[in-house]
């Protein structure tokens, strides 16, 4: 029973790690370090006569804070640096435990009496924490965690996690606060790791450094990789395999006459290799079972737009200057976008079209000049505040949120409608406000799917979309944010003439419904058909601005495109 209870505590730590690795896609290689913080923290605090439950709580909170700090440091970077930081942390904690016996009790470890008892003189209660009690406590924790993960994954948090693991850059462009979510996820993972460690320490009554070597981190990592992406049962199967490992290893060790610890390492290595090799086939096998909510019919009542169409332009760029090193990409550009118009931005390659669009979207900060949304300056260097203010863009290249079904990909864009804080928590406890939020999200998604003509494709695998549909999916995600200014970067690239016609109709429809569309495009036929206004950029300056007809007749534009005609 002691072993079983210990395995359940390990599963608690594994669920924590699964949140980071298999749900949010963050390569955390140091869960063992957080488990160690929980175990040694509890043992040390309890040895200094801190009441047991308070000791556990302090250790768990400390690990959570440590996880948050790790996340804070590594969240701004690519995922690989998080792997390096956490792998370094796993070895740092282990090395420190080995080198400082005062901290860890040396190779013998720290011991405390078992079974522990919880007494409350005021209530006159005394609970003996025998292995059965531990198994029940840990079992309840595991079941609760699994249920929470299942429920949370179906709600707003699930959307955020999917966005984190499949396309952080894209998620950022859709207004998901990527870095904040990453920090929160790592902190939660660390706290759960520490909780598992604390439980084991109290259960076993002995905490020795060798049990918390980086091998533990690797074992937990492989355990959460077993089930593939975002499965609640994955960690359970993984920990089951890990739990079977010592006995198997010991019998192999005695059969082959090698050291038991080495045999465990051999089996962990074999397990890691097997899991890596089987990852792709397993995810293919599980693919048909992806659940999908329905996006039937836009609920216009729930989609009420509180924004009023005032006189101020949706978006104004004034004398904007942008420099990439020594290159002046934009040199005093003025530009505005009004509700109900398609404003096309054209110009030769390298003229600054995409840069202007990125400035408008808030991802490039100008060195000079101002950007205003509805007449008001918008702060921030990331896209998220801009999206909340009603400006969303598509990326120039076709980016996908992994193999998330089309409808869910669009719903990630609609996530920004959850204006009240703790949307995930409110969903978890089924608060009425969460149901309302959900209705708004579904409505926004349905509207975006309908307006882009993708309504029939909501359940489709993104791999099944043709090039044009993939482009439209980009537009749909931006529209789903509820943005009144939609910035579209070369949407027609790779489209056939018929698909361009369809795209033109959709862009026109967006403008006619009261949105403003800023269109960067090379195809002058498309521009001539859909644009109300055209601005021509050349070498970072505005060359001309006016109706498509006027622009076509402008000799300066002809010169910029075709060179100076011979006289």
């Amino acid at each position: 029973m002691t072993t079983f209870a210990a395995d359940l505590y390990l599963l608690v730590a594994a669920y924590g790690l699964a949140l980071a690795v298999s749900y949010a896609g963050l390569p955390v290689l140091g869960q063992g370090a957080f488990v160690a913080v929980g175990a040694f923290g509890t043992a040390q605090l309890a040895a200094h006569s801190v009441p047991l439950l308070i000791a556990v709580a302090i250790a768990v909170v400390a690990a959570g804070v440590a996880g948050y700090l790790v996340g804070f440091a590594a969240a701004r970077l690519a995922g690989s640096s998080l792997a390096l930081a956490t792998w370094g942390l796993a070895w740092l904690v282990y090395t420190a435990l080995v080198l400082f016996p005062r901290l860890s009790g040396g190779s013998q470890g720290l011991t405390r009496p078992t079974p522990a008892t919880l007494t409350s003189p005021s209530l006159g209660v005394e609970i003996v924490l025998d292995p059965w009690v531990h198994a029940i406590v840990a079992g309840v924790l595991v079941v609760v965690l699994a249920l929470v993960l299942i429920r949370a994954d179906a709600g707003p948090w699930g959307l955020d996690w999917a966005a984190l693991r499949t396309g952080p850059a894209l998620a950022d462009s859709l207004g998901v606060p990527v870095q904040r979510r990453r920090r929160a996820v790592i902190a939660a993972a660390a706290a759960l790791g520490a909780l598992g460690g604390a439980g084991t320490a109290v259960l076993q009554g002995v905490v020795a450094p060798t049990d918390y070597s980086p091998l533990l981190s690797l074992q937990l990592f492989v355990a959460v990789l077993v089930g593939g992406t975002a499965t609640w049962w994955g960690p359970a199967v993984g920990v089951g395999l890990i739990a079977a490992l010592p006995t198997t290893a010991d019998s192999i060790a005695s059969a082959l006459d090698i050291e038991p610890l080495r045999a465990r390492a051999v089996l962990t290595a074999v397990l890691l290799v097997a899991v890596l090799a089987l990852r792709a086939p397993v995810s293919r096998l599980l693919k048909p079972y992806v659940r999908l909510g329905s996006y039937a019919g836009p609920d216009r009542a729930a989609m009420e737009d509180e924004r009023t169409v005032g006189d101020a332009p949706l978006l104004t760029l004034e004398s904007v200057v942008v420099e990439y090193g020594a290159v002046r990409a934009l040199d005093g550009v003025d530009l505005d976008l009004r509700a109900g118009e398609v404003h096309a931005l054209v110009g030769p390659n390298g003229s600054g079209k995409s840069t202007a669009l990125r400035v408008a979207a808030g991802v490039v900060t100008p060195v000079d000049g101002s950007v205003r949304v509805r007449g008001e300056p918008v702060p921030g260097t990331s896209a998220a505040p801009r999206v909340r203010a009603g400006v969303a863009r598509t990326l120039q290249h076709t980016a996908m949120l992994g193999r998330l079904p089309v409808g869910r990909q669009v719903e990630v864009g609609a996530r920004v409608h959850d204006r009240t804080p703790f949307a995930g928590l409110r969903h978890l406890i089924a608060a009425p406000s969460a149901t309302r939020d959900h209705r708004v999200r579904v409505a926004a998604t349905a509207t975006a799917l309908e307006v882009t003509g993708l309504a029939g494709r909501a359940a489709a695998d993104p791999d099944a979309l043709d090039t044009a549909e993939q482009r439209l999916l980009q537009v749909a995600r931006a529209v789903a944010t509820g943005a009144s200014a939609v910035l579209v970067d070369e949407p027609a690239a790779g489209m056939s003439a018929r698909q361009r016609d369809r795209l033109g109709t959709i862009l026109r429809r967006l403008a006619d419904s009261g949105r403003g569309v800023l269109l960067v495009e090379h195809d002058m036929n498309l521009v001539g058909r859909v644009a109300d206004r055209v601005t021509v950029l050349a070498e970072g300056r505005v060359l001309a601005s006016g109706t498509p007809e006027a622009i076509r007749a402008d000799p300066a534009v002809t010169r910029a495109y075709l060179g100076v005609p011979p006289d």
């Binding site: 690795v21 896609g25 390569p27 290689l29 700090l69 790790v70 804070f72 440091a73 590594a74 701004r76 970077l77 690519a78 995922g79 690989s80 640096s81 792997a83 390096l84 930081a85 792998w87 370094g88 942390l89 070895w91 740092l92 090395t95 420190a96 080198l99 400082f100 396309g167 850059a169 980086p214 690797l218 990592f221 492989v222 990789l225 090698i258 050291e259 080495r262 390492a265 051999v266 962990t268 290595a269 890691l272 290799v273 899991v275 890596l276 990852r279 990439y324 990409a329 990326l395 120039q396 290249h397 076709t398 980016a399 996908m400 992994g402 193999r403």
Partner: protein
């Protein structure tokens, strides 16, 4: 602390740092061509050294001076094993997870692949060499420079004589790599891939060959590091990980991607570690924590360390 002790710490630190530098150049090189962090890199050092010892001396090595034949065999095999392990790690554990079309690279995949490769190397060695650490023979015979094996410094300290050739070999190897990258055809191809793989493909650079060459060169440098570090003190199967992480810290200190920076970072890290060791209130235990602490802090503080410059205008 006397001046002699300080000099002793600095010299010992420089020799340790030269080894870190060699590991760091390889780490940095692999990163700049592939944007992959080689998690098994440190294990190549110990793998090269101990597989060669296994092949030449057997499972019960002793640190006696080897014969000329054995010395040559040890040197050649150490370098070969390190190169082969490095390229094999790339082919088996990293390559399959890169470049998956529009779904992008699989970070979880290559991170797991790298740590798995490291664990496989450690495990394979651990089965054959079960003790905590082994004293292995020195095929380069650095101890034979003086009869006592140590040199007395002005001011009272003394250092192991091998400190000087280790610093020299470490720095010479770094200069050779620099020369290779700047002068040779293959080196230039590697630098072009590091600058911009897409443009390199368009110019007809064989990108895949350049990447394999980077892993091979990283392995070779790990092999040189193995020749320098293994005989200095008893070496354990698991020592490679911390060495690799120290190399990572050095590479990050020197702005990831720059060979000069990697060497400078390595030297700084080695000296810092030795200074902590001789510092009155700190000592050996604290000194062992220096590389790992620096790694975690540097990744956290990010002195431009992990940023890919080419990502600025592109998206």
């Amino acid at each position: 602390m006397t001046g002699g002790q300080l000099l002793q710490a600095v010299l010992t630190g420089l020799s340790l740092g030269a080894i870190y530098g060699l590991v760091a150049i390889g780490f940095s090189l692999v990163w700049s061509l592939t944007r992959v962090l080689p998690f098994a890199h440190g294990d190549l050092v110990v793998g090269g050294a101990l597989f060669a010892v296994l092949a030449v001396v057997g499972t019960a090595p002793v640190a006696i001076s080897p014969s000329v034949g054995r010395s040559v065999a040890l040197v050649v095999l150490t370098l070969c094993f390190a190169v082969v392990l490095s390229v094999a790690t790339y082919a088996v554990a990293v390559r399959p997870f890169l470049d998956r079309g529009k779904h992008g690279e699989d970070v979880l995949g290559w991170v797991a692949g790298g740590v798995t490769a490291g664990l496989v190397i450690r495990t394979a060695l651990g089965v054959a060499l079960p003790a905590a650490a082994y004293a292995v023979p020195d095929p380069l015979h650095f101890d034979a420079f003086t009869s006592s094996g140590s040199v007395t410094l002005p001011g009272g300290g003394s250092v192991h004589v091998r400190v000087f050739p280790v610093i020299a070999v470490g720095l010479l190897a770094a200069v050779a790599v620099d020369w290779f990258l700047v002068r040779s055809h293959l080196g230039r191809a590697m630098r072009s891939v590091a600058d911009d793989p897409d443009a390199a493909v368009l110019c007809g650079v064989p990108v895949e060959r350049a990447v394999v060459a980077a892993f091979a060169l990283a392995g070779l440098l790990a092999g040189v590091a193995a020749l320098l570090v293994a005989p200095a003190q008893p070496i354990g199967v698991d020592d490679g990980v911390v060495l690799g992480l120290a190399g990572a810290a050095a590479a990050l200190l020197g702005r990831l991607g720059s060979p000069h920076g990697a060497v400078a970072g390595g030297l700084a890290l080695g000296v810092a570690q030795q200074l902590v060791q001789v510092a009155p209130s700190l000592g050996a235990a604290w000194s062992e924590l220096v590389p790992l602490t620096v790694l975690v802090v540097v990744v956290a503080a990010r002195p431009g360390g992990l940023r890919a410059p080419r990502q600025v205008p592109a998206e």
